[in-house]
Symmetry: none
Subunit: 210 residues, 4 copies
Amino acid sequence: MRTLEQLKIEERETRRKLIADTARELFSQKQFREVTVREIAKAAGVSVGTIYNHYSGLGELFLDVFLESAQEITRLMDKAIEDESPESFRRFCRAYVNYLNDNMTFFQMMSLFILEGGLYGEAVDKLNHSMRSLMDRIETALRKAGIQKDTRASAHALFSALNGIMISYARYPGRTPEEIRQHSLRLTDKIAATFESGSHSYSENIDPQR
Amino acid sequence: MRTLEQLKIEERETRRKLIADTARELFSQKQFREVTVREIAKAAGVSVGTIYNHYSGLGELFLDVFLESAQEITRLMDKAIEDESPESFRRFCRAYVNYLNDNMTFFQMMSLFILEGGLYGEAVDKLNHSMRSLMDRIETALRKAGIQKDTRASAHALFSALNGIMISYARYPGRTPEEIRQHSLRLTDKIAATFESGSHSYSENIDPQR
Amino acid sequence: MRTLEQLKIEERETRRKLIADTARELFSQKQFREVTVREIAKAAGVSVGTIYNHYSGLGELFLDVFLESAQEITRLMDKAIEDESPESFRRFCRAYVNYLNDNMTFFQMMSLFILEGGLYGEAVDKLNHSMRSLMDRIETALRKAGIQKDTRASAHALFSALNGIMISYARYPGRTPEEIRQHSLRLTDKIAATFESGSHSYSENIDPQR
Amino acid sequence: MRTLEQLKIEERETRRKLIADTARELFSQKQFREVTVREIAKAAGVSVGTIYNHYSGLGELFLDVFLESAQEITRLMDKAIEDESPESFRRFCRAYVNYLNDNMTFFQMMSLFILEGGLYGEAVDKLNHSMRSLMDRIETALRKAGIQKDTRASAHALFSALNGIMISYARYPGRTPEEIRQHSLRLTDKIAATFESGSHSYSENIDPQR
DNA sequence: AATGAATGAGATTTCATTCAT
DNA sequence: CATGAATGAAATCTCATTCAT
């Protein structure tokens, strides 16, 4: 009996995931603001109504896609943290910026949620949870890189700085995607270096006897 | 004859400025995406058609508003640079972030132009020119703060980092404007400190003997 | 065997009644046009499909709810007819109008059936039967009030007149429910008086010698 | 100068009237709830947008159509009042009921506004004004028919009673339009007679000495 | 140069009903 | 019989832009 129930629930989740994944796919092809419900439905092989059976509206669907991306990033970060090379911190930062370059939608949605608001109740909780997960990884990476003080604030600052690269240069008009990626990564290295070196002088301040 | 011509041109510019300023005013009241041409026209006391006589479309108007803001920021930065206190760099950074907090539109438009594109030809030139002006000031501030190497890249990195604060936390759902401002400024200080201290170890590392 | 059959039938009827009653309850809470099948199903604790197993569609369900209300009114009228006070006729009319005020749905559905049609076959028979029951009571009340001639037509006229009060003033925009009830009852009294007094002069005119 | 302005205003009103009249025409052909904006636009030879330039929404358009009908009725009543035959009162009532039979839309809209609400602000004022105009005529007709006391309340009662005929029998399922009209008029006569005769006995009651 | 009415494609969302399980 | 996910047509309303006056 329980299995039957479970099966139904699983099927439901599968369908939901199908829709979300289709949407993600479409978002990567064009500005996500330009993707319509009809398109998503068609691409997913379901009817428009079905989408509304699974999501209360476009906002919820967007959030779902966003959260999935956030999870993906989290996994990526977890991997990058394991890196034991001397350059691991720089690589960690690059992993994030590379992801953003490849998945502008994630970033655009974050902008949407943060800048334009429109998120309430449970949605905010989900967003917060997701953000905290990210921040945890960043904090870990910072610790590994030798930053010991004030790590949470530093994590926020680093997160901001890396996001800022995107907001400032992604799709900068007149630049090719490759030029943009190069520039992004150059800035990423710069920021990574700044944070790392910053940590040293910091520790000097903290531990002047050495 | 020339004076008559000049008068006409001046009047034209006045009209244009009137429209742009009205738009800015409206943008500060609500999400700029929600402001319609009709609203702007009504608020400015002109007809819709007039707006199209002065601007080729909404995009151009947005750009104009944006550029005006950019000029304002540039002036603000020029002032901040003159500050000779030991905290001048931190203040410089704060001035920028404070401005963004007070003028979200500027930031939202930058996001729009950078993330969604849609700028071509002359518009890109204007944007570039404006951005360069900003970057010049940031570079100057960095130099004054003791950063001597690689200042252009550092300027880009700092610009990114400060913008990132906004994209990451502005209007974070569930926070009050004041909470957000406080958090923004805390991060600003963090980043300013990181860049400043980074500069020291940098120069030490790079050129210790000399 | 028969008992088993009966049981099944009874259960079926119970289910049907449950659905109809739930619907009535919902209709009293909001405009019945705004109540969806899903809502009814949820409130009744059954599935959407079950509703369609019992009713061929929303129309039939509406009719069922309507007929139940009509029966309720009939019972109310039966009671009111027994009233032997000199004011019994006025009270009879008031009982009907009060019911309408308390059960707008009944009236709205009548409007729906009468004005927009869409009833066919058996449904019309049921509606007619129900209406005749009502009319019988009204006729009886009129006779008791001394109207002897042309009672069926008078019953129709009175029925119309009382319904008209609702269509003309129920939820009149800008009036509170209590104001509306007061006005309704004032008009009811007026109409009751008109019909009663009319009856006298009528008989006098028709049969002056007596 | 003034004429140019006037011309524009007139043209605007003409357009608005064109839309309203087209809508009325369509409403008489099918249930007015089934008429879509697109249909109206197409039939009127304008674009959908134009309709929204003239009306804030369907509600406003409906109200406009309704008010126009109300004016038409008022004019009709004014004519009927002039009738000096002994049957003038009956004719007056018949004129109204005939109009309702020919223009169900008017009645359906009245039902909509009264029963379902949704009218606010200026709209309510317009509705009230229109209703008062109607009531004035009814009152006049009643006075002419010899009813001297309590004429306003009587007007409301008569208005209700006549409307009630429609709500109770218009499009009664299974009846042909002609049958319905006949029945309506029979009831109209009945009600007219009731009100007239009622007036007599009333005066008798009030002034028994005479 | 100013006006502002007209345009019309297009988007989101709703919901009664069906039907396979 | 009960279930409830899927369906998909259809409806209202928006708004940047045009262009004749």
